[in-house]
């Protein structure tokens, strides 16, 4: 039965190899079909559940008021300094109330500002993140269990679209808009307060990761004729003391910067959800790509 000739053994070896690769191919094909039929939908379901949970965080209903979002109070402070304190009320994506106390360094006088009753400040970062999540959910819901994925490319394309939305959503929260000081000075935020904010104080609100941040800049006016070393600063999330800018033909220099912040627990949750979903998407793409080199194979 067993051939002992060297040639024969080589041939049988070759035959075995081709046979093996044939079996291997069938197994791979089966596995790939399983991936497209079962695994993809399982992942999509999981993704939908996570993202629905994330989307829910953006619109927590108020237990008392029907149809309204739950207002939450946050006390912003810092462990190292107590010059600035703020109490902010966040209702969904909008800051509805704000109370800011600033202790001026020179005199021990405390300044107090609050939002005017008719005004609220929308945090665009939160709205954008919410909209991106909703778009991702919409993409996912268009391919429910009844849909049959025919190719890996199709899954990849869907994952790319979902990941784009999720990356955008996360980036909106992790990277606040960087603004120049004149942009900040001219934004509507300065006109929101009662009593009106004096010309030498500026405030900014933004989200950084899961934290709600308040920055207070104290300014001093530069003499109009001091051209020495005047250099207008660029745009940044947080400007440093010494940064200079010109607004309404007056030159200012930042003398003090106070930054206080407070963690918003539900934003932290959403960030975790985004990260998990992104990883799920990438893992699915990686699984598909394992097969792609196999499918694209063409013998020469």
């Amino acid at each position: 039965m067993v051939m002992l000739g060297a040639d024969q053994s080589a041939i049988s070896e070759l035959a075995k190899m081709t046979a093996a690769s044939q079996i291997e191919r069938t197994v791979l094909e089966e596995e790939f079909n399983w991936l497209l039929k079962e695994e993809v939908h399982a992942v999509l379901k999981q993704l939908q559940d996570i993202l629905k949970e994330a989307a829910r965080r953006f619109s927590m209903p108020s237990p008392s008021l029907e149809g309204q979002l739950k207002p939450e109070n946050f006390i912003l402070g810092s462990s190292t300094m107590d010059q600035v304190k703020g109490v902010l009320t966040l209702q969904g994506e909008a800051l509805t109330q704000a109370d800011i106390n600033i202790k001026v360094a020179k005199s021990s006088q405390v300044m107090h500002f609050a939002f005017r009753d008719d005004k609220q400040w929308k945090l665009q970062q939160i709205q954008d993140a919410r909209n991106h999540v909703n778009q991702a959910l919409q993409l996912l819901s268009s391919r429910d269990e009844s849909y049959y994925f025919k190719t890996g490319a199709e899954v990849n394309k869907l994952m790319d679209a979902v990941m784009l939305q999720l990356t955008r959503a996360r980036n909106r929260l992790t990277t606040p808009a960087s603004m120049t000081l004149p942009e900040l000075a001219s934004s509507g935020l300065m006109k929101m307060f009662t009593p009106p904010m004096p010309g030498d104080v500026m405030v900014n609100f933004y989200i950084n990761l899961s934290k709600l941040c308040l920055t207070v800049y104290q300014l001093h006016v530069l003499q109009p004729n001091t051209t020495k070393n005047f250099k207008a600063g660029g745009s940044s999330v947080l400007h440093n003391p010494g940064a200079m800018f010109e607004y309404n033909n007056t030159k200012f220099e930042v003398s003090h910067v106070h930054k206080v912040e407070c963690v918003v627990p539900w934003l932290n949750d959403t960030l975790v959800f985004f990260t998990i979903s992104l990883q799920l998407c990438q893992q699915l793409k990686d699984k598909i790509s394992v097969f792609s080199s196999f499918w694209n194979y063409r013998p020469f």
Partner: protein, 1038 residues
């Protein structure tokens, strides 16, 4: 770069059409052009005949992300402009006729919709683009400068706008913008004349009205243009008709269970067409309660019940035998504003296919049973259009890649061009790597000649080692001279990286360190540690990065814990850090020496770290995955190098320290001779095979030709000084700029001599070895790179078939070759944006030319070879004529400037070494007679004359797009003397051609642009000034 130097691209597309997964669609108003944008960022222009035949014409490159929306950007039909935006906020304004990029800008936010609208401002009508997207405002952008003028803002619950429509009310003479936000709130802004007049930085405009209409997931809104009294809102789960006056609901139709609507439009006062996400469309007849003409209008307000589905007139299903689609198709409806008034439903899908339905005016006979199915009027995909062509579109090494078993050649999957050797390296899908002389292989593909009979021509070398597809190639010596010039590095789909010796064809080493296919090979920057300096950095699809030492032949670092694909590699050489940016925005900082992960960060810190790397290394060698970006970078880098070079030349006096320059200097000086031709491989999608673009730099070709002429061992011409005198003498006065060119020529000569002498300094042994290797490598083919480049270029540019006598002279005396088919040229415009003609452009051309023929006989493709490109657009004509005339003039001034003969086979002889007996010199000296020389010169002069003066008459005006005066005027002062002279000659010829009336029109056209006061002159004004100046001079002269 495109602004200054004259660079012409020629494309070799290959058999495979580029991937074009359509993401957006537009039909221009005259229904003769269709525009499609794709997920990879390219834009395709398709020509359409009144009989609805579609043919792709050109592909526009410039966007680096998926195209999100397209809109027309001009109202007039004679100057058609197009605006496109991409996922990452880029916005581009293109000329539809030739694909020139007029203007581009980038905003931080992505637009999802644009609408062009002309607002009436006083007596003038100003074009505006209204944009909405991932931001809560509507931005009003100037349609020519792309500057944001003002924004429409919501006071009440501002949110992203999902859809928008503009209408001009005849009653109030006001323009009204109506939009629906993502939360389903309808907003109305009124644009008064006062608002339209607003300039930048004004207060925002607040909405007039805000009304919740409870339309979640709104896909599109559109006014009934027939009555102006109703509004159609399509949401994914239902579509609704509203009264456009008070926005009360008139009817609501739900979608069927599994389908979701994705858009719709009124096609008549009483009919709407609605389409679904998966590509089916339905035409409904509206119930009487929605028809303003009916007495029942508004009868259902307040009592609308869902579920009453109006009668279906037609249903349009997508054909079932389609290729597998990977994402939902895009559907749009357009109607012609002039003859033949087609109403077109058009669909673009992921396979690059356009499907067209012409919707008939009349509804079918009333059928009670079921609605009728509408037949497809036309359908074509890019690949189909490519397949129809005979001969098939050429790929760069098709003749070497033919498989006996199949029609399709083996695909080229990666390529790199080595300019110093004029050699192209192509990695293919079967794992082999081919080294081939670039000009020779391009000549085979593009031109007819005796080479067609030779098998396996041109001589090439094949490297075999990879088990499967080669995914990337790198020639490190080209990036930095610290690498051995013999090393070539290749990465494959088989996870391996191989180092080759290109001179011997030997495989030096195989690295198997990655666990996925290699996606990128990068050279580390100059100031890294010495160990790292001899490494290349490899990136693989298993999200790992390796530093592979070419010298030690081992992997010195493998960074592999990344969760997401690697998007960018940056360096902090001073800190010994390798910075890896991943696609999810995370940044990993690795220590190169120890291989330890220093940090992994996200968010602002990550952005800051990446930015800091850019500051530390000005010319950071980051490479992105996107081919279009790569190209753009390549272009910018090229121009940077050129700029740097210019600066250096200014500083360097052509002093006697010819040989004293230090060695370090050698590497920084890109030799001009190498830039005349650059072969850039491109792919629109990562899965596509490579296509190749040959970039010809006219100025560099001229410099190189002059250099060689100067090096010619001819006693009367040998010294650079005489060279400067000869051609420069014509323009003694203000030729400071032109002088620089000659300096460059001299520099290059100097370089050559210096290099030669440096060679000699090295060990005799080394020299011996190198010479052996050289001889081996050159055994492939010895040829004259410069003359070959010029031959290829001139043959492609010449307008064949217009003057039989001249064609004979070109073929027999000058040695030019006739192209196989019309050549796909390209046009480079601002900021590295590029338009490349698809090989199918000639079909449109044939059709147009056939229309011009009175007898109506069909022209064959060979008949339009060469003529066609002068009928594409005025900008293309200008560039081509300038190139062909300036080159012909240069060649005219050269000795033995023919592409036939022995001198073509040899590299130009180097200047003899001092003290070396001149043995080879005799052989290379041409023994051509003076009579022959004068005939050649005469040939070139005839060629130049034909293109300069006779072309409009020979071609006929309908087939000839005259050159643009302002482009010529701008070259009036070109730094390259030859180009300048060509521009001047062409400008004068053109001014003479357009006659007195034409000149007057030109003056009238440009006069308004003249500056009021002389300082602060913008580019437009300079053009105006130049054109007017020239016109005046000319008018006086006649």
């Amino acid at each position: 770069m495109s602004g200054n130097s004259l660079v012409l691209p020629i494309v070799l597309w290959g058999h495979n059409a580029p991937t074009h997964c359509i993401s957006s669609l537009l039909v221009m108003d005259d229904l003769s052009t269709i525009i499609t944008g794709c997920h990879d960022g390219q834009i395709c222009i398709w020509d359409m005949t009144p009989e609805l035949e579609i043919n792709p014409r050109a592909l526009l490159f410039g966007h680096t992300a998926s195209v999100t929306c397209l809109s027309k950007a001009s109202a007039s039909s004679d100057k058609q402009y197009l605006v496109s935006t991409s996922e990452n906020g880029e916005m581009c304004l293109w000329d539809v006729s030739d694909g020139r990029c007029i203007e581009f800008t980038k905003l931080a936010c992505a637009h999802t919709g644009i609408q062009f609208y002309q607002f009436t401002i006083g007596t003038q009508r100003e074009g505006r683009l209204l944009c909405h997207g991932h931001y809560p405002e509507i931005l009003v952008v100037d349609a020519t400068s792309l500057e944001v003028l003002y924004s429409l803002v919501s006071k009440i619950s501002p949110d992203w706008i999902s859809s928008m429509s503009v209408i001009h009310s005849h009653r109030t003479q006001e323009d009204t913008v109506v939009a629906v936000s993502v939360t389903g709130i309808l907003k109305v802004w009124i644009i008064t004349a006062e608002v339209s007049r607003m300039q930048q930085d004004m207060d925002p405009v607040f909405e007039e009205e805000s009304k919740p209409i409870y339309c979640q997931g709104c896909q599109s809104i559109s006014f009934c243009t027939f009555t102006q009294l109703s509004l159609l809102v399509v949401c994914s789960k239902y579509w609704r008709v509203f009264d456009s006056g008070d926005f009360s609901l008139l009817c609501s139709v739900p979608s069927e269970s599994s389908q979701s609507w994705s858009g719709g439009e009124f096609i008549a006062a009483d009919k709407v067409i609605i389409w679904t996400e998966d590509g089916c469309s339905y035409i409904y007849k509206l119930p009487p309660s929605c028809l303003p003409a009916s007495e029942h209008f508004r009868s259902s307000v307040g009592k609308t019940t869902e579920g009453s589905i109006p009668p279906l007139v037609y249903s349009i299903a997508d054909s079932t035998d389609k290729q597998l689609l990977i994402c939902p198709p895009v559907t749009r409806f357009f109607y012609g504003r002039r003859e033949p008034f087609h109403k077109l439903l058009i669909q673009g899908d992921s396979a690059g296919r356009l499907t067209l339905w012409s919707i008939p005016e009349t509804s079918p006979l009333p059928q009670l049973s079921s609605s009728e199915e509408l037949q497809v009027s036309a359908s074509i995909s890019l690949q189909e259009a490519f397949d129809k062509l005979t001969p098939s579109p050429a790929g760069i090494i098709d003749q070497l890649s033919v498989l006996p078993s199949s029609n399709d050649p083996i695909k080229v999957t990666a390529s790199v061009y080595i300019p110093s050797q004029g050699r192209l390296v192509c990695g293919r899908e079967d794992g082999s790597i081919i080294l081939v002389p670039a000009t020779q292989t391009a000549i085979v593909q593009l031109l007819q000649g005796e080479h067609m009979l030779r098998r396996g021509w041109p001589p090439h070398r094949t490297l075999r080692g990879h088990r499967h597809k080669v995914t990337c190639l790198l020639y490190p010596h080209q990036v930095s001279p610290r690498y051995d010039q013999r090393s070539l590095v290749s990465g494959g789909v088989d996870f391996s990286v191989i180092i080759w010796d290109i001179f011997t064809g030997e495989m030096k080493h195989i690295f198997c360190v990655h666990g996925g296919e290699i996606t990128q090979l990068i050279v580390p920057p100059e100031n890294c540690s010495t160990r790292v300096q001899h490494c290349v950095c490899s990136v693989a699809s298993d999200h790992s990065v390796g530093l592979l030492s070419l010298r030690e032949r081992k992997c010195i670092m493998l960074a592999s814990r990344h969760l997401f694909p690697i998007q960018v590699i940056k360096w902090r050489p001073c800190d010994d850090y390798l910075v890896v940016g991943c696609s999810d925005g995370s940044v990993y900082v690795w220590q190169m020496d120890t291989g330890a992960l220093d940090r992994c960060v996200m968010g602002i810190t990550a952005v800051e770290i990446l930015n800091a790397c850019d500051e530390a290394v000005p010319a950071a060698l980051d490479s992105l995955n996107h081919p279009a970006v790569n190209l753009k970078q390549a272009m910018t880098r090229r121009s940077l190098a050129a700029l740097k070079n210019m600066a250096q030349h200014k500083l360097q006096t052509l002093a006697t320290n010819l040989l004293a320059a230090d060695n370090a200097d050698k590497g920084n000086m890109p030799k001009y001779s190498h830039n005349s031709l650059v072969v850039q491989s491109m792919k629109t999608n990562i899965t596509d095979p490579d296509m190749h673009v040959l970039f010809f730099d006219v100025e560099a070709v001229i410099i190189q030709l002059l250099t060689e002429e100067a090096q010619r061992p001819n006693p009367t011409l040998v010294s650079p000084e005489t060279l400067q005198k000869t051609p420069g003498g014509a323009d003694k006065g203000g030729s400071f700029l032109a002088n620089k060119i000659f300096k460059q020529v001299k520099e290059t000569i100097k370089e050559n001599i210096k290099e030669h002498l440096l060679d000699e300094d090295e060990d005799e042994e080394e020299e011996q070895r190198r010479r052996e290797e050289k001889s081996k490598s050159l055994s492939l083919l010895e040829y004259n790179l410069t003359m070959d480049t010029a031959k290829l270029f001139m043959s492609c540019l010449h307008a064949w078939g217009l003057n039989g006598e001249l064609d004979e002279v070109c073929l027999n005396r000058l040695g030019m070759l006739r192209p196989h088919t019309p050549i796909s040229f390209g046009l480079i415009s601002r900021g590295g944006h590029m338009s490349l003609m698809l090989p199918t452009f000639k079909d449109s051309l044939l059709r147009r030319l056939a229309q011009g023929c009175v007898d109506g006989h069909k022209l064959s493709v060979t008949e339009v070879v060469g003529k066609g490109t002068y009928g594409v657009s005025r900008a293309v004509t200008t560039q081509h004529l300038l190139s062909v005339i300036s080159l012909a003039n240069t060649l005219m001034g050269m000795t033995n400037a023919t592409f036939i003969g022995e001198h073509m086979k040899k590299a130009p002889t180097r200047p003899p070494r001092p003290g070396t007996p001149e043995t080879q010199r005799k052989s290379s000296v041409q023994t051509s007679s003076p009579a022959m020389q004068s005939q050649i010169k005469q040939g070139w002069s005839q060629l130049a004359a034909m293109h300069c003066v006779m072309l409009p008459d020979l071609l006929g005006l309908e087939k000839f797009k005259p050159p643009l005066l302002e482009m010529l005027a701008r070259r009036w002062q070109d730094r390259c003397l030859e180009v300048r002279e060509a521009a001047q000659a062409l400008l004068l010829a053109e001014l003479r051609r357009i006659g007195q009336l034409g000149r007057k029109d030109t003056i009238d056209l440009w006069a308004p642009y003249l500056p009021q006061y002389v300082d602060a002159v913008s580019p437009g004004e300079t053009d105006a000034f130049l054109v007017l100046r020239v016109c005046e001079v000319e008018t006086d002269a006649f």
